[in-house]
Amino acid sequence: MEPAAKGTVTPLASLFSEEDAKKAASFVEEKIGEKRVEMNRLQQFVEENTNLINLVTKLPDQLHHNVMVPFGKLAFFPGRLIHTNECLVLLGENYYTDRTSKQTVDVLARRDKTLQSQIHSLKSEIEDLQTEASFFTTTASEAMEGLVEIREEYVEEDSSATVLQSGVKESSGIPGGETAEAEVEDDEFARIMSRLNELEMQEEQDGEDADNRGEEPDFSIETVEESDYNMVKGIRDETEQNRTEYRKEETTISVPKKASGHSSSIREPRYSEAIVKGKVTEVLPEKHLHEDVDDPLTCIGPIAQYLPKEDQSRGGIPQQTARTWRDFQGTSAGSRAMAKTNVVGPQKIQTPIQKPEPKFDTNKAFTGSIVEHTHNLETNKPSPVQPSKPVSRFMARRR
C-alpha cells in the first residue's frame, strides 16, 4: 500500500449527498417518461400510417366499394365508394393535392420515413437519459452504502509498466535481463553501448538522422516482441543469430531478426559504414512509409520510448519487475499483436527495396535503424549521447 500521504480518501456521500443523487435520478426518470409518451405517440402515427398505406393500396383493386358512410356521430348509411384511384392528400399546412393511389402511397411512405427517423432519434435520446439515470441511482446507492473515493498520486513507474507493457518491456527487459542473467556480461554490454554511441554520433554527423528517427518507433515496437530473450541471447551467440537473421529477413519475418540484428551489428565496426549506406538507400522508401503507413506506428513508438526513459531515470527497473512484465506479456498480447501487424506494412515495402542490394547491406540498413533504437537502452545508463536522444525522440513525437 502507498503511504497515506500519497492518497486521499473521501467518502462519496460527502461529495454527492444521497438525496441530491436521488433527486437527480428521479428528475431524469421523469424526462424519460416524457420522452416515452412522445415515442408512443409517434409509434401510433406510424401504425396509422401503415394502415392507411394498406388501405390506399387496396382501394384501386376494385372499381367501387360498398361502405357504410358515417353520418353525424351515430348514424351510418350504406354508400358506395367510387373513384377509387383518386385521393385528396393533405400535405400539411392546409395544403391539399389530388393524387392517384399510387402517388399517395409514395407520399405516405415518405412520411413513414420521417417518422421513423424521429423515432430513432427519440430512442437514442431515451437511451442517453437511461444511462444518466442509472448513473445517478448507482451514485445514490453507493453514497448510501458509505463508499469512499480513494485518490492516489499517479505513479508512472508501475502504471506505465502495466499500461504500456509493450514499450516498457522491451527496453527494460533488455538491460534488466542481461544484468539478471549474466552480470558477467556487464562489460560486454558496456562495450556494446559505447559502440552504439559511436555509431550514433556517426549517424548524426551524416545528417540523416531525421529519416532514421522516423524509423525509431517502428523498430522499438518490433523488438518488443521477442527482444527480451533475443537481446540476451543475441549478444552471446551473435554469429548464429546473424545467420538466422539473413534467412529471416528474406522471408520478411520482421520482429526477432531486427532485435538480433542490433546486437550483431553493434559489435562489428565495419557495419557502421554499412549502416550509412543502408540508410541512404532506405531514405526514400522510408519517407513514404512514414507518411503513409507508419503514422500509426510513430504514434505508438514515441510513447513506448518515452516511458522507458522515465523508468530508467528513476533509477533503473529492478530485474524482477522486468520479469513480471514478461509475465504480463500475456495481457499485453493484444497490444503487441497490434504492433506486429503495423510493422508488417513497412517491412513488406522495405523488402522489395532490399532485394536488389546485397544481403549484407539490407541487414545493415536495419541495423542503422536499430542503432537508433538502442538509444533507448543508453538512456537507461547515463551516457554522453543522451542529449541527442531527447532531440530525436521529440522529433519522432512531432511526426
Binding site: 385528396l88 389530388d98 407520399v107 415518405r110
Partner: protein, 130 residues
C-alpha cells in the same frame, strides 16, 4: 432605528427584484413554448415543400381556407410555403436572440438578489448581536 429602515428598504428591494426575476422566468418559459411551436411548424412546412417539389406541374393543389378548399396554382403554393419557411426561420432567430438576452438578464438579476440576501443576512446578524 436607521438600521431598521435600511433593513426595510433592503427587503423591499429584494422583493422587487424577486418579482422581476419571476417575470423574466415566465417570459423565458413562454419563449420556449413559442419556439417549440415554430420549430414544429417549420418541420411541417419543410415536409410540405418537399412534397410540393415532387408534384408534377399540372397537379391540382388546394388550400383549405375555413370550410372551403380553394384551388391554388402549384407555383403560387410553392412560393407561399417558401415564404412561410423564411418567415418562420427568421422568427426563430429572433426568438433565439431574445432568449439569450433574457437569460443574461436573469443571471444578472439572480446575482443581484444573492448579494442583497447576503447583505440582509449580515445586517440581521449584526442586529442579533447588538
Amino acid at each position: 432605528m436607521s438600521s431598521s429602515t435600511a433593513l426595510r428598504d433592503l427587503q423591499r428591494d429584494l422583493e422587487n427584484k424577486a418579482n422581476d426575476l419571476g417575470k423574466i422566468q415566465k417570459d423565458i418559459a413562454k419563449n420556449h413554448q413559442l419556439r417549440k411551436k415554430y420549430t414544429i411548424q417549420l418541420g411541417e412546412n419543410e415536409l410540405v415543400l418537399k412534397e410540393l417539389d415532387l408534384l408534377e406541374e399540372d397537379a391540382n393543389v388546394y388550400k383549405l381556407i375555413g370550410p372551403v378548399l380553394v384551388k391554388q396554382d402549384l407555383a403560387e403554393a410553392n412560393a407561399n410555403v417558401r415564404k412561410r419557411i423564411e418567415y418562420i426561420s427568421a422568427e426563430l432567430k429572433r426568438l433565439d436572440a431574445t432568449l439569450q438576452d433574457m437569460e443574461e438578464k436573469q443571471n444578472s438579476k439572480r446575482e443581484a438578489i444573492g448579494k442583497l440576501q447576503q447583505r440582509l443576512q449580515s445586517i440581521q446578524a449584526g442586529k442579533a448581536k447588538a
